[in-house]
């Protein structure tokens, strides 16, 4: 320490010196009364500033902040997406939701390095993270809506000119690495990437084992976040009428208010009241279009974990039970296929996997989507 540098008496005053240097300064202060006088003056100055009152804000700024947030471009986009969800086109409802979500995903615009798939930049679409069971084909099924056609008065939708389904990044290269939690690490890494606000997870399997795994990975990846105090998981299985052999599973991680909005929109579009999802997540809120049978596998004859298989048979005409909410509790429906009518809403819950259950066969051509939103809750 150079005692000619008087800034050390400031550090001494603030208690920022280690013991040896503190002793040196004290010795210097004893030897030099002028230095001691300056220390006293600095102490007065410090006291004058620290004695300033700490006034409270004269006018609550929260209302102005909320108004300002409401006028942000991204919030206006969200409003547009929701108004799209309210469209009366019932058959395309869920696909519309997915398309809207996919568009929203492009807004954070994370640039991806196409060579190694690891570096993220700011101008490309948000990463679409693929959760692929080992030895499966990572190609997303064709039924996934990749783009939406916004009206020209919403220019923000055109932020990302690139396909929103790329780049795809494999989270789970092997079952062994999955057991080691590599997928969670990868998920955490993506979630921690600056700018990432939403995330899509693709799984080309509809079995509950993979579904549970993804949910588990998400839950264990959850970070304490003041704005994410309450998040709910809503899931839906959608079969696109134009692609009736393809089932699409959506898992939407929503804030509480967004969940309420989604349910309101579903209610308006389907003219039915979706049941409240007050039970512990995950739950299934399912709308099936022009499809045939839905099987819930959970019976002594099929000691597999509960899983849902959507399959195509002859389309049924619109049934009188349109909009009827069917409980997908496997205890009631096990062993026998459910007849699925257009517009039927299924509500159920995924089951915990039995430890003795054999690995279920993987279903190809289905998609599992997760939308992670970080919308602040002011």
């Amino acid at each position: 320490m150079n005692l000619n540098d008087e800034s050390f008496i400031t550090a001494y005053l603030d208690g920022e010196l280690d013991p040896p240097n503190r002793l040196k300064v004290e010795a210097a202060l004893l030897a030099d009364p002028k230095l001691a006088e300056r220390l006293q003056e600095l102490s007065y100055v410090r006291g004058a500033v620290s004695g300033l009152p700490r006034p409270t804000v004269p006018h609550d700024v929260s209302s102005q902040v909320l108004v300002a947030i409401d006028h942000l471009p991204e919030v206006r986009l969200r409003r547009f997406v929701r108004s799209s969800i309210r469209s009366p086109r019932r058959m395309g409802l869920a696909a519309g939701i997915a398309a809207a979500l996919l568009v929203v995903v492009t807004i954070p615009a994370i640039r991806h390095n196409g060579n190694n798939g690891n570096e993220l930049h700011n101008d490309d679409p948000a990463p679409v993270v693929s959760v692929l069971p080992h030895e499966t084909n990572p190609t997303p099924p064709p039924s996934v809506p990749t783009e939406t056609a916004p009206p020209p008065e919403v220019p923000l939708v055109a932020v990302s000119p690139k396909p929103v389904t790329t780049p795809v990044r494999s989270l789970v290269p092997s079952a062994a690495e999955r057991r080691e939690g590599k997928d969670r690490e990868a998920l955490t890494e993506v979630l921690d990437t600056p700018g990432v606000r939403r995330l899509l997870l693709y799984v080309d399997s509809l079995d509950s084992r993979t579904l549970n795994h993804v949910e588990s990975a998400l839950q264990k990846t959850h970070r304490t976040h003041p704005f994410r105090a309450r998040q709910r998981v809503a899931q839906s299985i959608v079969i696109d009428p134009s692609q009736p052999n393809e089932a699409v599973v959506y898992t939407v991680v929503l804030t509480e208010s967004e969940r309420e909005t989604l349910e309101t929109n579903l209610e308006e579009s389907l003219q039915v009241a979706p049941q409240s999802n007050d039970a512990s997540p995950p739950e299934l809120v399912t709308r099936l279009g022009e499809v045939g049978d839905l099987q819930v596998w959970d019976s002594p004859a099929t000691p597999e974990p509960a899983r849902i298989q959507a399959s195509r048979s002859a389309p049924e005409p619109v049934a009188p039970s349109f909009g009827h909410v069917v409980d997908l509790d496997p205890g009631e429906t096990a062993g026998s296929p459910l007849r699925v009518h257009p517009g039927t809403i299924f509500k159920g819950r995924t089951r915990k996997q039995s430890p003795t259950a054999p690995k279920p066969p993987e279903e190809k051509g289905t998609v599992y989507l997760v939308w992670v939103t970080t919308r602040p809750r002011f």
Partner: protein
């Protein structure tokens, strides 16, 4: 809810950094708006308050730097513009008014400092941050924090000469 929770904690800091209640109010709004928009960048490595605090401080410093040319800093000899010392006792009925005036003079002196100097004083003496924390927040070395703080207090000592004299007189009167 979060705005209400943190606005009163942030307001004094922003007020002292800007020197204007109106600017502080506007900057507080801008702070929460920016926090909303940058939420994806919040890493969770620090507390949420620390993160918002950092945004508020940076915004306030940026605002002051922006206005630096429009608002010339006071000359270091400006202490003579302050009122002469008054030795009336603290129990005087006029004491609250005097206190208000005294605070205003201290704030004026703070506002006369260069933004970089004012920042270290506010963060240290008002908010009680340690040198390391200030260095991290302002992205400067710890030694720079120390030297800036020393120079800033030296300037304040000159600017607040009148107040220090008053306090000295009062103490001797007791």
């Amino acid at each position: 809810m979060l705005v209400r929770r943190y606005q009163d904690r942030l307001y004094p800091t922003v007020l002292r950094l800007t020197g204007s209640a109106e600017d502080a109010h506007d900057l507080l709004q801008e702070t929460f708006l920016r926090a909303y928009r940058k939420l994806g960048q919040f890493q969770g490595g620090s507390s949420f308050y620390t993160w918002v605090y950092r945004i508020a401080v940076n915004l306030a410093l940026g605002e002051r730097r922006r206005r630096k040319t429009a608002r010339p800093a006071l000359d270091l000899t400006a202490h003579d513009r302050f009122d002469p010392p008054d030795d009336r006792a603290q129990t005087d009925p006029a004491a609250p008014l005097e206190r208000e005036e005294r605070d205003a003079r201290i704030q004026n002196a703070l506002s006369a400092l260069a933004p970089d100097h004012r920042a270290v004083v506010v963060l240290k003496d008002l908010d009680g941050l340690r040198y390391e924390e200030i260095a991290e927040m302002l992205k400067i070395p710890v030694g720079t924090v120390r030297s800036r703080l020393h120079r800033a207090r030296h300037e304040l000592r000159l600017l607040l000469h009148g107040i220090l004299e008053e306090d000295h007189v009062r103490q001797e009167a007791r």
